[in-house]
Symmetry: C2
Subunit: 396 residues, 2 copies
């Protein structure tokens, strides 16, 4: 069987090999990219799905509009409003997780050979998704304050990309938070160069400080005239409510939204109306603020525990900036005192000590930094985090 | 904003314009392609979703394997076994409706310019889906016995297509049933020409006769050595249980299945585990046979009513073969007694009489027959069907 040429653009073995080892009994895993299922509001979701079937079985079980189930679009519009975003229900479409938003962006915008700028490092599945559509990825450097806007603007001017893809808030894997000044700079350079910006924002609600992070790029567009017409925003309920519902959404300028809907029609017709109706009922129930507060509190404790343990156990063998939200630590091996500098080799030794993480190199679309690694603190409790980090120290 | 070149391959306006008119109050619609929501087993699905959350909330709400939720793969394997198909759980993957199976087939197999043979007429969303991946579609003629295998083999020999896409059982829109002899011929020519065959089978369970239709191509592969390695089969719960769950599946040779999983990872990560766990519990509950029996009975009555009404009210103005299953009549305007011969013009007149159907031309990838039309009998009850067909007669 001869497969499509586009499959040659993709390489997925790097992480798959590692994940095969995660089934080892007794392992403490910092490798996952998912929320802790122990924190799902099962009772609230059960009640929401019951209401969906009691009140709107026809709609919840029938084919639905490709754009999304109207009651959910309204609820998502209201949810966005609580975060300073003014978007009407028809200004967003529902996607099958925000992964599908990325796929629709690729399908709608990328012709083979088109250049796309991403952060280095960035979300692994974004790299592969865009490459399947033939994108040539350019990597923009990131520091603890998010993407370096000086470097980004130079890359935009040089490469004239089809679009720029950013995870400005607690990015996967960087954990970095783009500060307010840089956010405005990004919007200004979008207008200056007439470049589309894709803001992926699955982690924005997971902040650990008393005050929320700076507003999303989308929320800031009113401050930068002309930027709204160049901004695409992807949201998701996966990290805050449940990934299993597969409910994400995309806000975009009308012409892009219309083409994305057309592509979605032939991708999966529509997102599960059963899941959409359940999500709509959940948002309507008013339980989300309490759920978010609980999730933030638990993840904040785990994040603190991981930071303390890493400092105490690994000392100057690694450097990192403690994240203010999200699910991830992004760290770098220093090689101090003859310690490791290659995260892939370190990961193999760590597995032998029954602790797992993800080496950072695959998260770079170009010029991988082999000393980097990603540690998730989301799914292990505080005791497990301490134990896991102690094992990491043994593997040094 | 400059969109991807692939969007230029697609034209979706033909039917969209018509569907805008369907909101007209009082209209009787034969235009839809969906099952009747009044026949959904809401109680059974409610119970299944309750069990999914009671017994396996972690799995039902968390990220899941891209290949599909294991309990559902097992249930689907067992469901296929009742239809004479021997496929282990790992021999199929779950897709977000069978529409996604089509998308993954396109993504995995079609390079721009590749030829694909489809039936003329065929499922509209298949035409657009494959064209988005750059396929050049070749149309094979269909009669009341399904695709004409003599013509199909000539086209395969001439065009050496990447694959052939067929809906052998109660096809959309043809309603045709490929007979057993032709089924074997298709498998034999697949082996002879080493051509992949994609069998789309969402309607196979909706038969109205006392005995089931001939076995699926997949079920027949043991009789034609070498054919299993060339066969892809798409199944769906949409027409028999609920489209809103968006649960379909795909059986394919291992290498294709592996590449489809890789592509799916970047399309939507996985199908809603909540919907999958609900579907698995439903299949496990044992309610499916009774649900199918009920659906068959109701649709058979509606199908009979439509056939009788069409014969009585429209006489020799149209020709059709009464379908033995599925959701659709495929008819052709004869122009007898100065009646209409253009189905699009007839559709506009019909709308004025408050009855809707879909003109057949868009269902052809090439050489459209403008006298054809599709009528669904699924969503109107017998009285509405009679009234709707009477209105059609007025529009003649």
């Amino acid at each position: 069987m001869q497969f499509a040429d586009r499959l040659q653009n993709v390489e997925t073995s790097a992480i798959r090999e590692l994940f095969k080892l995660l089934g080892t009994p007794g392992i403490v895993s910092f490798a996952g990219g998912f929320p802790d299922s122990a924190m799902f509001d099962v009772e609230g979701i059960r009640e929401a799905s019951r209401r969906a079937l009691d009140e709107e079985a026809g709609g919840a079980l029938q084919y639905g509009a490709t754009e999304g189930y109207e009651p959910l679009r309204s609820q998502l519009s209201a949810f966005m409003a609580t975060k300073g975003v003014d978007v009407p229900p028809q200004g967003l479409i529902v996607t099958t997780g925000s992964q599908q938003a990325l796929d629709l962006i690729g399908k709608t915008l990328i012709s083979p050979g088109d250049k796309v700028i991403v952060e280095g490092p960035t979300f692994l599945a974004t790299i592969q998704c865009f490459r399947l559509y033939g994108a040539q990825l350019i990597s923009a450097p990131v520091d603890a304050g998010g993407v370096r806007t000086d470097a980004l603007e130079k890359l935009i001017a040089e490469h004239k990309p089809k679009f720029v893809y950013l995870i400005p808030t607690f990015g996967n894997p960087s954990g970095a938070l783009l500060d307010l000044e840089r956010r405005k700079q990004v919007l200004e350079m979008a207008v200056r160069h007439q470049t589309v910006i894709v803001e992926d924002d699955p982690y924005g609600d997971l902040y650990f400080t008393d005050t929320p992070p700076p507003p999303s790029l989308l929320a800031l567009t009113p401050e930068v005239p002309g930027s709204r017409a160049l901004l695409v925003h992807c949201g998701s309920l996966s990290k805050v409510l449940s990934p299993g519902l597969r409910v994400g959404w995309m806000v975009a300028p009308p012409a892009l939204l219309a083409n994305a809907v057309m592509c979605k029609q032939f991708s999966d017709a529509h997102t599960s109306t059963f899941a959409q109706a359940t999500a709509a009922q959940y948002l309507k129930s008013g339980r989300m603020p309490a759920t978010l507060a609980n999730v933030r509190k638990v993840y904040a404790e785990r994040c603190d525990a991981m930071a303390d343990s890493l400092r105490r156990e690994l000392g100057d063998a690694i450097t990192f900036t403690q994240p203010q939200g999200g699910l991830f630590f992004w760290a770098r091996l220093t090689g101090a005192h003859g310690g490791p500098t290659d995260a892939a080799a370190f990961a193999r030794k760590a597995i032998q000590e029954l602790v797992a993480f993800v080496p950072g190199a695959p998260f770079f679309a170009a010029d991988p930094d082999h000393a980097t690694l990603r540690l998730s603190f989301a799914t292990a409790d505080v005791a497990k985090i301490r134990e896991g980090v102690a094992r990491l120290a043994k593997a040094l």
